[in-house]
Symmetry: C2
Subunit: 182 residues, 2 copies
């Protein structure tokens, strides 16, 4: 997020067709909840386009890119690697250590699909579980980011937006971004 060390979300594994929406939701959740960048598998071009399209319309800064060597990206990341997994340490136990690490270093948050190779568990500085229950990698990422930023991400500013949603108690109001600044 602006004025903080970079947080990058890396989606590991993608089966075109079957995983399109999950991968897209990982990318959009990363953007909405304060990450700076999402790295998607090389075969997830459709998700990439959706995330870029949303960023063009609703603002950034946020970057989406494809990566055909994600294992190398994880291995060589110059910072702290967090792997979200239901087998990991409880987020309520290690969250503070992760926040402390993020004050010093960039963070790579790895969101796996099925069958994450053991080398990822091994490389990760933190294997973190948002509950040790099977649920959703999107849900886990969302709770992890909200806790990492302690809610600050909800108040972030968006630049270069084309349109803005006005929060309201009943209704659906979207206005051009220029009007929202008045």
């Amino acid at each position: 997020m602006q004025d903080e060390r970079e947080v990058v979300v890396l989606r590991l594994g993608h089966r075109p067709g079957r995983d399109d929406r999950m991968t897209t939701h990982v990318g959009l959740t990363a953007r909405a909840l304060g990450a700076d960048r999402v790295v998607l598998p090389a075969n997830a071009g459709q998700s990439l386009e959706t995330v870029r399209d949303i960023t063009a319309r609703f603002g950034g800064p946020f970057t989406a890119e494809l990566d055909d060597e994600p294992k190398a990206t994880i291995r060589d990341f110059a910072g702290v690697v967090v792997h979200l997994t239901m087998y990991g340490e409880r987020v309520q136990d290690v969250g503070e250590a992760v926040r402390a690490a993020h004050r010093e270093s960039s963070l790579l948050v790895v969101v796996g699909g099925e069958k994450v190779p053991f080398e990822v568990y091994d490389r990760a500085d933190f294997n973190v579980a948002v509950t040790n229950q099977p649920h959703s990698e999107v849900a886990g990422l969302a709770v992890f980011l909200d806790r990492l930023f302690a809610g600050r991400e909800l108040d972030r500013e968006w630049t270069n937006a084309d349109r803005v949603v006005l929060p309201e108690d009943t209704g659906k109001t979207v206005v051009p971004a220029d009007d929202a600044e008045d």
Copy 2:
């Protein structure tokens, strides 16, 4: 969650095939993050089976059911209705009011798909946005529940589990539930 007023998650709208995984993830996220019950559309029988199967293996209490009259369920709910939508009031602004309402009443949390009818916005006691950005209904539900329960859901106990994941810094360890109690 145990010892609290009931929290029910209702998934509104489901296109078989296309929405199967999203609806399943809504159900599993509801279970993992402290809701008592999920109500799925009548045509989401496959998601229902998955959620029940996970509950049988990893424990409860948690109930999943189908509903062929979800609009009536929302309209007639004897408690407070929260509708999660990117057009709603900001969760950081209304979260405390929702928590206060939950101390007095059961809560129905409506998670829409595309094109939620206006009567849902109108019936809802709170239309709540986890960011006013387009992202994922699963992510929105996850952050909403974590904030509703203020993290207590992460420490909940599971009963009648068949197996338990042991949190650890590296590795994947699942043991029979009987062993975990020793």
